[in-house]
Amino acid sequence: MSGLGFINPFGVRELPGTTTGDFYTANFAQKAQPGRVILNLGPQHPSTHGVLRILAEMEGEYVWRAEPVLGYLHRMHERMAEVKTPQQFLPNMGRVDYLHPLAWNWAYVGAVEKLAGLEPPERAQWLRTLSCELNRISSHLLWWGAFVMDLGGVTPILYAFEEREKINDILQIITGSRLTMSYFRLGGVCADADDRFLALTREFVPYLRERLKMYRGLVTDNVILRRRLEGVGPIDVDMCRRYGATGPVLRAAGSPNDLRRDVPYGTYPQHDFWPATGFPDDCFGRYLVRLAEIESSLDIVEQAVRGLPPGPIMVDKPPKANFKMPAGETYFAVEGARGQVGVHLVSDGGKNPYRVKLRAPGFSNLSLFAEAAQGTLLADAVAILGSLDLVIPEIDR
């Protein structure tokens, strides 16, 4: 291919030494050794789940060097937080990570509440746990389908969507929307759970447990999937620590870190669950961790439905539109489906926060891709990318 000046539809360019391509490609190609091919995965590649772009230096079928290029989906969420009151900024949190919006809801609401000293009533806390865990299950289900689709199995995502639709139907009753949910409010939640919501949730838990058994037969035990994943892309605890990776990636590496247990918030201390660990640290381990987490989330949902106390869902005097936070600085983190979701909030006592920093777990998880993908086959690099569970809007914010 080299020497022909050939550009094929998959983005393979004959490059070293030349300056074709944009700034990133040209810059990346400077360090490439002669005879190697620079491959652009993305920004609109079917296996990258959004507008992520990976530059890879290829030696035959092997990835010699890889570099993620970010920012195609930057929407200035942090800046928007500075020009809007907390109540006005809340709907943004559903848009940052569209797969687990309620974790982001919780992180921002939690940060403001921590600063303002608001304590939501107990029923609101339980509803937060319940809805957040249902949302986590739907996030993992979509990841499961998308990951298997990355590996070439197109059917399973349709099975996953059947369950996901059921969760969306359930969450729509209380949140009013199916994707970009904005359910939490400063000092509580915006709607109470009715009988229909609780009945559907109770029905859903045993239903999904049955379906997970089907998933096992359909995908987990499948020999093709196992040979694609077993031993591919090992990520150990040390690498996670260096890049700040959290969530299922870190738990698959063998460290039982889970903010729901380590820094308990909400009603999690009252729930009986244990972070899923004890899996291999390769792609297959990360696959199993997430399936195990669906099961532990189902346990939490079951306990939350059983233990849901009666009472109000808002504090007595909810913050009004002219609500001013006390001056100060705070950090509040929750465990999202992808890892530690953190909000660092600085207030100067005005209506709007002075500065808000959003800590997206996907950003750290993606950072280790360059190292993990080094020396792997291109198809394995795609498997590693999929196993990190990336949501690009969250990474670019």
Binding site: K84, Q87, Q88, F89, L90, P91, N92, T155, Y159, E162, K166, D169, Q172, I173, I174, G176, S177, T180, S182, R185, C190, A191, L200, M214, G217, L218, V219, D221, N222, V223, I224, A321
Partner: protein
């Protein structure tokens, strides 16, 4: 050698298991709602947030409860509301809502002291241009009142296109 043969046989068996699951689902009834031949049942949309609508006052279904206090306009993060007070009294003369900007966050609904706003369940709203999404809610309220003709707070469910049977879901 023997080990490899056994492994491959086990692998083949796992493929058969997967195929049998797929086959079972192939023969089971379809789970999707085929829009536009079928539509979602109205009870599944009970709390769905569609575009905003005005709540009629208790005595006259064509009159709004709105008192033009501008609380919703101030609460809105997207600046998608425009409320102009009419001559004499508190009733609004203009109530324009730009659905193309709205993020359906319910800040206006929660801020309203007169409970004059709520979400409709219109899931079939479509438009060809952005201007069509600038909705005149006062006209919408009058149209609904004329349609209902009686029944002070008659809230019409989501209207499926004519001639379609709703399919029960959930």
């Amino acid at each position: 050698m023997l080990r490899a043969i056994i492994d491959n046989l086990k692998g083949l068996y796992s493929l058969l298991v997967g195929l049998s699951i797929t086959g079972r689902f192939l023969l089971s009834p379809q789970r999707t709602v085929h829009y536009p031949r079928q539509v979602v049942a109205p009870e599944s949309l009970a709390s769905f947030r569609g575009p905003l609508e005005l709540v009629p006052s208790a005595d006259d279904p064509a009159k709004t409860r709105c008192i033009s206090c501008q609380m919703c306009v101030r609460a809105c993060p997207d600046n998608c509301l425009k409320v102009v007070k009419g001559e004499g009294g508190k009733a609004p003369a203009v109530w324009v809502y730009d659905f193309s900007l709205c993020c359906l966050c319910a800040a206006c609904v929660e801020a309203c002291p007169a409970s004059a706003l709520r979400f409709s369940h219109k899931v079939y709203l479509t438009a060809l241009t952005r201007d069509e999404l600038k909705l005149d809610l006062l006209a919408d309220l009058k149209a609904r009142a004329a349609k209902a003709a009686g029944g002070a707070d008659a809230r019409p469910p989501a209207q499926p296109p004519a001639g379609l049977e709703p399919q029960a879901r959930l």
